[in-house]
Symmetry: C2
Subunit: 350 residues, 2 copies
């Protein structure tokens, strides 16, 4: 991915402190809550009358990403999205991130600059401050660990545990595209292995490939919910696929759920590429993951407030816990929902 | 380290969610500022009228630790200490941590339980809540990324940048022991390679080996400074050796410094093992690192408040920036202080 670069600077030439200074020299501070950023033992933050939310995620080369088709800049961007998505899933505003990176010496300084350029672009686009981190060497591969901080008024924070029977189940955007984007990229990688001169035409797949390589977290949804005067009863982000997230909401809220297959929002590009790959699109939506959309529940009385909004689709409703969790198919069959989300340990064991 | 265990459970048997539930089932919440801990998209924290401090550190197998002599429980404990030390270096109280772990499938569940037992012991001893994290697989080795949150009144926070010429330079405890502990452990590892039946007698080295394997962060120092009514002008923790940290304080504060060799506090065990290894003990104190003591400066008028305190040693004073940073030797020679602290990239390049 970065072997064609003209200039290569070995990490040891800069040293640990020099490298951190070098990579963070363009960092800007914009959040009023950031009092001290990078450069001390810890960042100093101040939040007025607001709750602080804190989340962390780790991405490991060979497990969560493959540099054969993931440009480093996109990887940096996506690593930030994964974390911000968790903040938005609390109905909070993301304010700060810290970034820790371990890289083997196969990565020159220029590669880490690429990675950081994606991280800083994400920070800029989403108005979060990079306030700390750690950069170190690894014996093998690249590992990125990001923590994100956000803020929200106590009364607006949404947990996974507040859903009640008869609440509507709502999803933002569409689902399944990131997974099918990955399938297309994997196929091109195999073609490339056989014929390195093959020029892939990814144009017909641009939407789904972009959903995989450059996902956007739903920063707009907490704002939209506020504008619509809607307070969800529970919420979660879709990182592991719809079925896995529905199970999380139901378990935390002690409810069941009915999900209607015909209601699941799919982009036309997902439907056509599922046909091409001969994969069931509902299965992709249920188990695909990495869409970073939000899944939430709300009281039926709020239905009129969200009705017709192009960002929001009602896909089902919650039930009593003893009724279980089911997919209602187009043929009106009732199929139990099982966790089939992405599982990094299973992937490894396969 | 963990191959002799009778029971071995492959990570994939539990799956990612099962593993996190399993490892965190004994987590207790004690801090009033923790509103929601593990189990949602993000933790929810609330701080009343106080600044929030945030820091993060990553430990990589083969770079920061060697499982040949580092028991996993100790590793977990130390990984927390490394982060809490940064919080105390802000003169703040540590309140929460998040823990992300990537482990290859050579680690059975029981190994991660050992690691977590050390993390939870540290959390208990230091009264911090484990409020989030991520557990995933890696393609090689073990990586631990921890973030720590703390709190402090705005007026008590101490940065690296407030030192002034003529301020006293003070260190807590003693330095150099962790580095010499590492030398002893490395030697035993080599002996073991040649003769696996050799029974090492580490008894004479117990203090220095413990400083390496089970360091304690100086949680007591912010309390002590408060009790003594001392507000340091600058502070940093000693992770990379005295010389490297003095340079950080001087650069951030735009001062120089004079460090007096004869004042550097060394434990008798360090002096005797330095003689045994034929290493200069001052060099060890300057460049050794991993002691997790605190280094701070304070106004000369506060000298009477700290005089004679067994936890605190005045080792020098700050000067004007243009005077530079110097070690004043026992022979009254003036030697420029250079960064020789631990550098993970240089270590790798060697």
């Amino acid at each position: 991915m970065f072997d064609n670069k003209d200039s290569k600077t070995n990490l040891s030439e800069l040293g640990e402190f020099g490298l951190i200074d070098h990579l963070t020299r363009f960092v800007e501070i914009n959040q009023p809550s950031t009092k001290t950023g990078i450069g001390d033992d810890a960042a100093v933050l101040h939040f007025e009358d607001e709750e602080v939310v804190l989340t962390t995620d780790m991405l490991v080369e060979g497990v969560h990403f493959d540099l054969a088709y993931m440009p480093l800049k996109h990887l940096g961007y996506k690593a930030v999205m994964v974390n911000l998505s968790d903040v938005y899933a609390m109905n909070a505003e993301a304010t700060q991130i810290t970034v820790s990176i371990a890289a083997s010496n196969r990565f020159p300084v220029e590669a880490l600059e690429e990675l950081y350029s994606g991280i800083l672009l994400a920070a800029k686009n989403y108005k979060v401050d990079l306030v700390g981190g750690d950069t170190t060497s690894s014996t093998a591969g690249l590992i990125i660990s990001i923590s994100a901080v956000g803020k929200a008024k106590k009364e607006t924070i949404v947990k996974r545990s507040g859903a009640k029977a008869n609440d509507l189940l709502v999803v933002t955007g569409d689902v399944g595209a990131a997974y099918m984007g990955l399938q297309v990229l994997e196929r091109e990688k195999q073609v490339f292995k056989v014929n390195p001169n093959a020029q892939p035409d990814l144009e017909p797949y641009s939407y789904i490939v972009e959903r995989q390589l450059k996902p956007e977290a739903r920063k707009d949804i907490p704002d939209l919910l506020k504008a619509l005067e809607v307070q969800p009863t529970s919420m979660i982000d879709i990182s592991d696929g719809l079925s896995s997230e529905i199970i999380h909401l139901c378990k935390s809220s002690k409810t069941g759920a009915n999900l209607f297959e015909e209601k699941i929002p799919l982009d036309p590009a997902v439907i056509s590429v599922c046909e091409e790959f001969n994969i069931d699109s509902t299965m992709v939506a249920l188990s695909g993951g990495e869409d970073y959309e939000l899944l939430f529940t709300l009281d039926q009385k709020d239905f009129d407030k969200i009705k017709g909004n192009p960002n929001l689709t009602v896909i089902g409703h919650m039930t009593e816990e003893n009724e279980g969790m089911h997919l209602i198919t187009r043929a009106n069959q009732k199929i139990p929902i099982k966790a089939r989300g992405w599982n990094s340990f299973e992937d490894e064991a396969e």
